[in-house]
Symmetry: C2
Subunit: 329 residues, 2 copies
């Protein structure tokens, strides 16, 4: 058995075309494809070592031991890895996020991407990028997109085998910046896993899914051609469509707060009335990701900070792939 | 020719299942049926007299002469009436609203209902309620619902002949109250007529329309059985579905302001956490209609007034049909 202690880092990502709802909740096969950008500067750093002496898997997040559902979700991925590598040792998983939880940036994407990379390598496997993306997907759908670098598309696929993400352009292709307007640091009431499972209860979800190939094509083309106007329209439309589905689910999920709408309406006005290249997108939470060009990022950040209900602004550029940073074998 | 000066009043209405989008923009045949409640206390009072001496139709709203598009829309209805009555005289139309414009209550419904009633009678016609509802519909779709009294359903119909509204329960059937939280008195940027015409551009409109018969049935049943919980869920769902379509149209229509969301989120919390029977519905504007029971109306009004961004609260009970109040012939 060729196991070792491996450390990997992965970035969270912000989706421009959103993932919401699964065809298969266990395999996390999505209802529609999605497109995202990795967020540089923000990362999860995870070390995995399989140890014969351990009676159980151990998970330490930001210095604190985690048990229960959090550990179960990690063990589920470790079980898949153990099955692939044909090993039986339990693992110690030590993980740290350099960004605060509740900052409007889900840590599950970077966490499961880093776990997939570090865990598979520590188990002696040498997985390809698509294989790593598929493995990360099993822990959190959006984690599949944190494996490749830069601008990433997660193709919907038809089975576990072909539902993975790949890079459509490297991080330096287009100097986009995500200014995250933090309007609420409180933890969201309904997590994404539960949210995905109720997406089919919305009378609007089927229409949103059926229209997804069109939105994906417009967004992909806008990124490849660096066409900010086309990009802005489709990104806001897609975000509003996901929240339309969320709001009309049973139970209804209302993630927007008044402050979210304040930022969204402001950004739209800046773009429409002043030709400032900025658009919003909102995940399953209240904070607003404002996407802009690097050249305008300082103006956008300054304006966001001037909005009274904005508590803080995080700024992130396009980031690279999940990578191994330390391998002790 | 048997013409006279006739005065009619009609109430605005608040839709519980919304009308949004037309199959026929000229005839104002709707994409889906709708259900509403007339609003007592608020009304448009309109006097119509056909006069041989007039070279043109004249329109006076709240003491001011109106020309241009506003007059054209009234003359269009007067032309239909003249055609039906086989008369050719131009008319003087004097109309007054007892509620402020920009108060979150569209005046077009009560205005065209009062015009249909007063105008047809002044032309010597004796139209049935369905005929009056169809005539009012030609001026403004929702005006068809201000003809019958109390709780009203506008059946979608298949042609001009069968697309009219009828009462499903009288005003005293259920003591519902509409507390209109005024958060913005500014005039909306995009009017309903233009909004209806772009509804098909939303990828979600077809799904919203296809699901309408289900929502209509749930709402109708909840009203007939006075089941507030069932009523509240379907009313909020329907409002959110209409705004989902609006937000995802091209161009996108965003009517909600931060203060709207503040009221909406508050109302939902009062109901969920404190079992206060209240729910929200929002038309093509920022103001929020909070529907509650008469027994709770004082509490709901008081709480709404405590929300900082609420400028004023209008309170209206269920109202009666459009009626003739004066006939000088």
């Amino acid at each position: 058995m060729n196991t070792s202690s491996v450390t990997a880092i992965a970035h969270p990502n912000i989706a421009f075309i959103k993932y919401w709802g699964n065809r298969d909740n266990i395999l996390r096969l999505p209802m529609n494809g999605s497109i995202s950008m990795n967020l540089d500067g923000l990362c999860t750093r995870t070390t995995v070592s399989f140890q014969p002496s351990l009676p159980f898997d151990e998970l330490i997040i930001n210095g604190r031991e985690v048990t229960g559902a959090g550990l179960d979700r990690v063990s589920y991925i470790l079980d898949i890895i153990r099955g692939m590598a044909n090993i039986h040792d339990r693992a110690e998983v030590i993980t740290e996020n350099n960004f605060p939880s509740g900052a409007g940036i889900a840590s599950s994407a970077s966490a499961f991407a880093a776990l997939a990379v570090a865990g598979s390598k520590a188990a002696g496997l040498n997985l390809s990028e698509p294989e790593l993306s598929r493995l990360a997907r099993r822990g959190s759908g959006s984690a599949s997109r944190s494996i490749p670098g830069g601008f990433v598309e997660w193709q919907v696929g038809t089975t576990d085998e072909d539902s993975f993400a790949f890079s459509i352009a490297p991080a330096d292709h287009w100097k986009l910046v995500d200014c995250v307007a933090i309007v609420s640091a409180s933890h969201k009431k309904t997590g994404s896993t539960e949210g995905h499972s109720i997406a089919p209860t919305s009378p609007l979800q089927a229409a949103r899914v059926a229209d997804a190939p069109r939105r994906l094509e417009i967004c992909r083309k806008a990124i490849l051609e660096k066409d900010f106007d086309a990009f802005a329209s489709i990104v806001e439309l897609d975000s509003d469509m996901m929240h339309s589905v969320m709001m009309t689910s049973t139970p209804a999920l209302h993630y927007w707060k008044p402050a979210s709408l304040d930022v969204m309406n402001s950004v739209r006005m800046w773009r429409t009335n002043e030709s400032i290249p900025a658009c919003y997108t909102v995940d399953a939470g209240a904070n607003v990701h404002v996407i802009t060009l690097e050249s305008e990022a300082h103006i956008v950040e300054k304006r966001l900070r001037e909005i009274k209900s904005v508590e803080d602004v995080l700024v992130a550029h396009a980031g690279g792939p999940a990578t191994i940073v330390k391998n002790s074998d």
